[in-house]
Symmetry: C3
Subunit: 476 residues, 3 copies
């Protein structure tokens, strides 16, 4: 059974708008994918080895999936999620897949459902609808495809029409995978696969092993990271290395959006308390906040676009964290204040066109109140796409309905997939393009925008804006 | 004039979605009503006496109605709302009804309008549209019906197709009305009318007469409620009595969602300060918060589902409270934080499948940020239906549009009417079914869900889910 | 090229609703404009002089426009916005206009786009679509019109079908422009152009020159404003002068909605600290909060409707403020709490029908949680139209979708344009009428309201309600 095209997926049902959405989407559909922020392991593309079995590829690493099943009482271990103490977990791919398929109804109405379904049909050409009964059939069909050379990562990259994919690395990463990619003609400045400078594990004193990480940063760079000045020098040094590996942006995942403009003496004192192990939570928060000012200064120097991802309470599900570690679905958003939090940064550099800060949110209840007015009033500020729990058709639509009226389209930075699931990249971008097409179709249908301008806008949103704002293809 | 059927009420106007909504609603329409949470006085069904006049039945006790008229300057006394000091109020039903009808336009666009209108037409078969001019005609028509035996409470219960109705009682209630119901074959475990354990007046030190209530709890149970251990024993004892009267859940109405895991020594100290009358507001809040942990432990033991209703500032309208007392429309919602507030409870039992906590909200600006991620990430947590001010077509729709993408349908607990207005129960459930049908119709029309799965889902939402999650029909 | 009528602008695309929206809008379309709150300079109408060039009329003073261009790196000085230190800025109207036109795409999807476009077409009859290429053509066409007598302010006022326009003045204003208007038969009590009492610069200790302003208030009134009692007397005195100039309302722009009921001794102490220059930020906040109680008392005496505009962090963009001063686009909303903040005011006078308070918001995430329950539960409270960043089609719609179900239509105070851009007044009111028509059309299409009642409601919203609630045409 061959997959149906679902050509009207996510378009408004009302015929006038649907027709307009089709027309607008047709312009965006085949634009190359710019993926300026995500978490694909560069090794996948560096090695270009075949993917593992369907469960290990699609279920085990997808925390959207494993958390939903946990919420209905299925322990992550039963789905093959590794334990921190090495306690055994389910290892049989087919068993994992069957368990997942048995709970497929839980995903009705979720973006995971869309992403998975479209991955099955569009990427793997498997048209059989998943159900407990068809679990094996779908598993076998995908497994068969994964064995074929056209389903190797680089072949898929071409097929997915990805122009540029940015991965995310720590300053402690040796960037060896990116060097391999560059050697193969796939990486480096202006290349197809580039890196992103994500320094959280050497900035956030509450990160496990922070002091050791700072020490390693010193070893890698030869700077004396036992001093605050040496620490900053080491960070600058790594940024240059990242730029040499193609990076055009940095990324900062903080619990809040707080920024602070501390004196060097104050920052030094915090840094030293951190190294001595006497920093408390307030010190850690102040240091993170201050470092955003430092990184803004570095960005003005070296040109990296800053991304700020605030508002996630990491490891909220304590049992999950203790059993399975980080990044397995135990994080929950918290209310995020931007206006006062960003004031020090904006006071210092908000009107400086050399700085570019892309701000994301997990808290949609800031769209009209804070985010749109800030992005529509400061030269340095752009709004990132709805993120994580908010990367969904309904919220993508509400994002446009909420921020456009104050910030316009051109203070938004375009879609980012933010995913580690390489095979889901096309569908994620496709969903955003469809929702934008539907939103623009409504503007046209309500006589608020001529079709010609909507047509230009959809291509800007899908391709030109992210490329420009993230400096993709530019050499810093 | 016979009432028009209004068969498309609340369905999307767009024809494709409307046709789908009709088809889906048809599957849900005749499902029996599961009403796992509400405030109907069990005496109504125990006695099965005729209802009083239309004003006393429909206007006087409905704080949605009296508060709206108060907001336009009509004092509650003019509508017959009793005063705390016995100062006389309007007693003539017809006069009250005419005053209400004179302000009928205030309810345009409100759920009260829908509930009342449909109660008139569907329950009482009165098709004349209410207006100042028709006030008497409608009054007389309803009054005539109320005198007929088919309009006695039990007859209506049958006609309403209610499978199970849960009322809400304090631990100080002797459950005599439920005993009467059980004796008549209407109550008891697995029965048609069951109770719910609502201990606020013996838990919340800020409740009037708390210490006296605790003393009475001791008298009722024979436990020494002068000690914290005796107090817990008394609560356990009453829970068993409630379970014997059919209860499958407890309910907790707190100003915030705060939970705390105090030591026995700390809890004892708070309890004793409360009894001595030296507890301050912070003590009261800490004690309430801690008691949620105690009740969670009891739930794991005895199987009662926990309901948490946080976020109402009781008696905000001080004049109204001083003049007319509690529960007459003077409560207002406040911003409600869930993530940090629930952490102690979730750390302790959030992944324990033996616990089931249904959380409600008056603050819709937590749907995507906190509630959906929590319900979609913890095995013990379910989302209750939009509550009170939020129990309305627009919010029911926004609830699905907001929480489904992260929590799915199956972490929501189904509709609860939460009402004391017995005659409005069918229309309230009907509104929820219609909104769910419309939402699912959109998913189908936008090719996001096959009709077959939407069809299964609508029946789950209307009937199977609330029955299962609230353990209706189970014997604990 | 003559402008197209765009008769379906902003109506829902779905044909049933569109037809209903047309029908309802037709009833509201030609209702006279009641503009009970705005910032038009009364000099414009007192002098009735021709408007300046198109750039100076339309671009330079419009902070919606200049902030959007600033957000994309165009300095306000390049658009002619004056500097506080007199540093030169662009003065050539045509150059400014071309710069604006070059960035016209930034306004896609914004209300500014709608307001400007419709001002061009409807007010000036210029049908050429603006673009970088047509900039000069549009500029010249508007300039030509501005030279004609039919485009003088009073002629436009007639053409705009404005029944009453309220401007906003400080108590320090001598009301001379309003005296001139009265002398011409255009102003005074019950007149066409009236004033509004806006005392922020003599109430807010954080306002530049507050103490000097208080001293001047004493000079103007002859009261001893060196004492708190004299200060109150002076304010009462000016309110009488404003009432004599036609005022029916006061207006209070505060950073928060806080109210406080201080004793006279406490208020006196704060006032004296303010005059001595020793008041801190908390003192200033307490004094502002207390003064709202004083103004409520004065309103009960003299009948002025109180307007409260909380939630704007003024001059958030520090560079913009230092370079160009106040009111040039550097203000940003902050989260606004109403429930606890308004408690002292509501405890004192919330149920007093002699008081009327219209509350506005920049924080839509309070609509269902706080604002609708408050307005639907207190006799004194009304909800103002969505304000400033929220005065947009999407939010006007969400406002109705959110507040109607709890507060109904009749606790909302009707549209206010809040603008200094005189020529944009008709389109702003027209947008609100169109959105209300669309919302009511949906209620009718979903069988929630009969067309006859929707028809009455749309006229109430457009004309009768604002007139009644703001006491327009009444003599206080």
């Amino acid at each position: 059974m061959s997959p149906t095209p679902r050509s009207d997926l996510l378009f408004p049902a009302e015929p006038t708008q649907r027709a307009l959405a089709r027309e607008l989407y047709a312009l965006a559909k085949d634009q190359p994918i710019i993926s300026p922020h995500g978490h694909v392991d560069p090794l996948i593309l560096a090695d270009d080895a075949p993917f593992p079995d369907p469960a290990r590829l699609i279920i085990v690493p997808d925390h959207y999936v494993t958390r939903m099943l946990l919420s209905q009482g299925v322990p992550p271990a039963d789905l093959g999620v590794p334990t921190v103490d090495g306690r055994p977990v389910e290892t049989d791919g087919r068993t994992i897949w069957r368990r997942f398929a048995a709970h497929w109804h839980l995903f009705r109405g979720t973006p995971s459902r869309l992403w998975l379904e479209r991955t099955f049909t569009e990427v793997f050409g498997v048209g059989t609808a998943l159900s407990p009964e068809t679990a094996d059939e779908v598993y076998d069909a995908i497994a068969a495809r994964l064995a074929e050379p056209e389903f190797r990562p680089r072949a898929l990259f071409e097929r997915f029409n990805i122009e540029v994919l940015a991965t995310t690395e720590s300053p402690l990463d040796d960037l060896g995978r990116h060097a391999k990619l560059a050697a193969d003609g796939w990486g480096g400045p202006g290349g197809r696969v580039i890196t992103t400078f994500r320094p959280d594990n050497v900035v956030d004193m509450e990160f496990e092993g922070w002091a050791d990480n700072v020490a390693r940063l010193g070893e890698i760079t030869g700077a004396d990271t036992g001093t605050y000045r040496g620490y900053l020098a080491a960070l600058r040094d790594r940024r240059q290395a990242f730029i040499a590996a193609g990076a055009t942006s940095s990324d900062h995942g903080h619990p809040t959006a707080l920024t602070l403009a501390l004196s060097e003496a104050e920052a030094t004192a915090l840094f030293e308390r951190g190294l001595r192990g006497t920093a408390d939570a307030a010190d850690a928060e102040a240091f993170r906040a201050h470092m955003l000012l430092e990184f803004a200064r570095m960005s003005i120097e070296d040109g990296l676009v800053m991304q700020l991802h605030p508002g996630s309470v990491r490891n909220h599900n304590r049992w999950l964290y203790e059993t399975h570690g980080r990044d397995v679905g135990g994080d929950i958003p918290q209310a995020t204040e931007y206006l006062h939090a960003l004031t020090p940064l904006l006071d210092a550099y908000g009107n400086d066109p050399r700085l570019r800060v892309v701000v994301y949110t997990l808290d949609e209840y800031t769209f009209t109140r804070e985010l749109a007015p800030l992005a529509g009033g400061y030269a340095a500020l752009y709004l990132g796409a709805p993120w994580w729990f908010l990367d969904s058709p309904e919220v993508l639509r509400r994002f446009r309905e909420s921020v456009t009226e104050t910030a316009g389209f051109y203070n938004t930075a375009g879609f980012v997939d933010d995913t580690r699931a390489f095979c889901s990249i096309p569908v994620r971008h496709d969903v955003a393009r469809r929702i934008d097409a539907g939103f623009l179709a409504r503007l046209v249908a309500e006589d608020r925008l001529p079709l010609s301008e909507a047509a230009e806008t959809i291509v800007d949103l899908a391709y030109r804006l992210p490329k420009k704002i993230f400096k993709i293809g530019e050499r810093l």
